[in-house]
Symmetry: C2
Subunit: 341 residues, 2 copies
DNA sequence: TTGAAAGCGCTAACAC
DNA sequence: GTGTTAGCGCTTTCAA
């Protein structure tokens, strides 16, 4: 393994100094065309590859940004990461990934680790467990951009990219009402995350606006998963007054609900079911699933754009933008009630 | 924004030198307990956070490894990344992500970028487009671990973690034969990627072993996607002798096949359909989809383990391991033929 | 336009 | 057990 060539090697070869080489390579400083050409040629000849680390140490900019998400395994987050990476690539930024797996402890560690790696900023979606967010304070203190998406937190006064989740909950509910359903249940997580609270509030508002009662027994606070969906559905169907429609916190949960309903011969749309996220499978299950599209790719693109804006400012927090995307209702069989409304 | 504290600040505070501080913090060198304690306390007091960059520049180790995948949006790759990150986390390694989006050009750029970032090694799965792999040579030349998973390449003599794809193709085909299907078609990608070739060869071998002819018209070389599945299925169903079963290159393609077959009233298992990857949705579509599980999480874990092994060796390539995982057949409705075999 | 020189924060011989 | 010292590869004043 031969030693890697550095700007020093190039300088020696051309009998100039490293500063000149550095200038020639960086491209913007005042330098003669001939020197620049010579340097570039020699660099190529010697198979030179810059050491971004050294440059970063000196300049204080790594062009690496940290992304913290609960898990890449969720399609929603995977799509966002995909778009963030795409949107940042052309500006020279790379993405270092950290998964919290929904544990605060991992999240705390993630912030610490990323900061030690000297990332230029952090884009994050907080874990379900996260209540105290003081571990993010250091990012702000270092004047580095911190951007939250989807799952934000009231204590963190930073720019955000989110969905209008109140509206998401509202239109899901109103759609069911429009379809003639009258006793609508809601399965969501126990965790006090804004996203989920907003949806629940949207649900309640839609009920009220349509003179329907909000019934405590119709709201299941548990987890979000296929299993939780099955569980929630069984529980609901044991209510004195059974619901005629169920809103599930995400498409996976909705899947579990459908599974259960099919087993007990209440196959949707007999009982209406709608989810959130428009997962890849949602269009292909039977009955196919009505859902709310959360536009993850658009969200990722907005994150990238907003991040670039922040990082170009002297003070990234000089104006704290909150980008809110519109949810879209996707109607499929699982809510296609034929009953007169 | 106050200046970040460095080991120099700690040293000054305690009237010792930076080397002592460095030693105390790294924890292993000979140093008195009192000094160590004092340093650690002061570090905490001053809210010290190490600059890994400086350490990396000096030591040549960044503890960052690059992972190149076609796209995180595919659940298969997302799961692998998830496991790689998990498996490496405890050893202090972080993952920097690069997506090729199935383009060689991006892949070339990825290797270059990651090398410039001084990653300690690269774990990659090559793009569909990739034929020439010389862009990976530099990684090996720098004596850094290069590990390929799933999609490997004959020209790259590096350790690999793959599935026994020949077997995967074989057992998928044999399963269909066992179910009584006799005229089995195969939809796969045109690209010459080992994974897919192996599966095709497994398919052919299984046919031969069962005295069934390999019919050219039954093999569709195109793309892999829901759309390609629909397209492939229509094409196959226009053959003079229509197939009675279709093996699709992945679950998404299988989804498209099923969609098409349902439309023309040949709903599986009337015509058998099997896919590859066991995507999250596969168990929930109707009919639910038989498939081959490729154990992405196990694959990620093996990648992490093998990588750690490589990096601990003086010469990472002193023995070139090839870990091959066993595919598992998952039987569901889409191949549950009732016809006598 | 180019060179000299200092230094980013840390590590690691080598000396004592 | 601790200090001295040099330097990782690059950028960036300051001076020429």
């Amino acid at each position: 393994m031969n030693k890697k060539t550095t700007i020093y090697d190039i300088a020696k070869e051309l009998n100039i100094t490293t500063s000149t080489v550095s200038r020639a390579l960086s491209g913007f400083s005042a330098i003669s065309d001939t020197t620049r050409q010579a340097v570039i040629e020699t660099a190529k000849k010697l198979n030179y590859s810059p050491n971004r680390l050294a440059s970063a140490l000196k300049s204080g900019k790594t062009y690496i940004i940290g992304v913290i998400v609960p898990s890449v395994q969720a399609h929603f987050f995977a799509s966002i990461i995909h778009s963030i990476e795409e949107g940042l690539k052309n500006s020279g930024y790379r993405v270092i990934l950290y998964q919290s797996n929904e544990f605060v402890e991992n999240e705390i560690n993630g912030v610490k680790t990323l900061l030690e790696a000297q990332v230029d900023g952090i884009i994050a979606s907080i874990s379900l467990e996260t209540e105290d967010v003081s571990h993010f304070a250091e990012v702000i203190k270092q004047n580095k951009p911190l951007l939250l998406f989807d799952r934000e937190h009231a204590d963190l006064k930073v720019p955000t990219v989110t969905l209008d989740d109140f509206k998401a909950g509202y239109i899901a509910t109103r759609h069911l009402i429009d379809q003639g359903y009258r006793n609508i249940a809601f399965i969501t997580t126990v965790h006090q995350i804004k996203v989920f609270n907003d949806r629940l509030n949207g649900y309640k508002a839609a009920l009220k606006d349509n003179n329907l009662a909000v019934i405590a027994d119709n709201i299941i606070l548990g987890g979000l998963s296929i299993k939780d969906g099955r569980f929630g559905a069984s529980k609901l169907m044991r209510n004195d007054i059974k619901p005629d429609a169920i809103i599930a916190g995400d498409d996976f949960t909705a899947l579990g609900v459908i599974k259960k309903l099919k087993e007990i011969n209440e196959t949707p749309p007999k009982i209406g079911v709608i989810g959130f996220a428009n997962e890849a499978f949602s269009a292909y299950i039977t009955p196919d699933l009505s859902t709310i599209d959360q536009h993850p790719n658009q969200m990722g693109i907005e994150c990238a754009k907003l991040f670039l804006k922040m990082i170009q400012q002297e003070n990234p927090y000089q104006n704290v933008d909150h980008i809110v995307l519109e949810p879209s209702l996707i109607v499929r069989e699982s809510t296609s009630n034929n009953a007169p409304s």
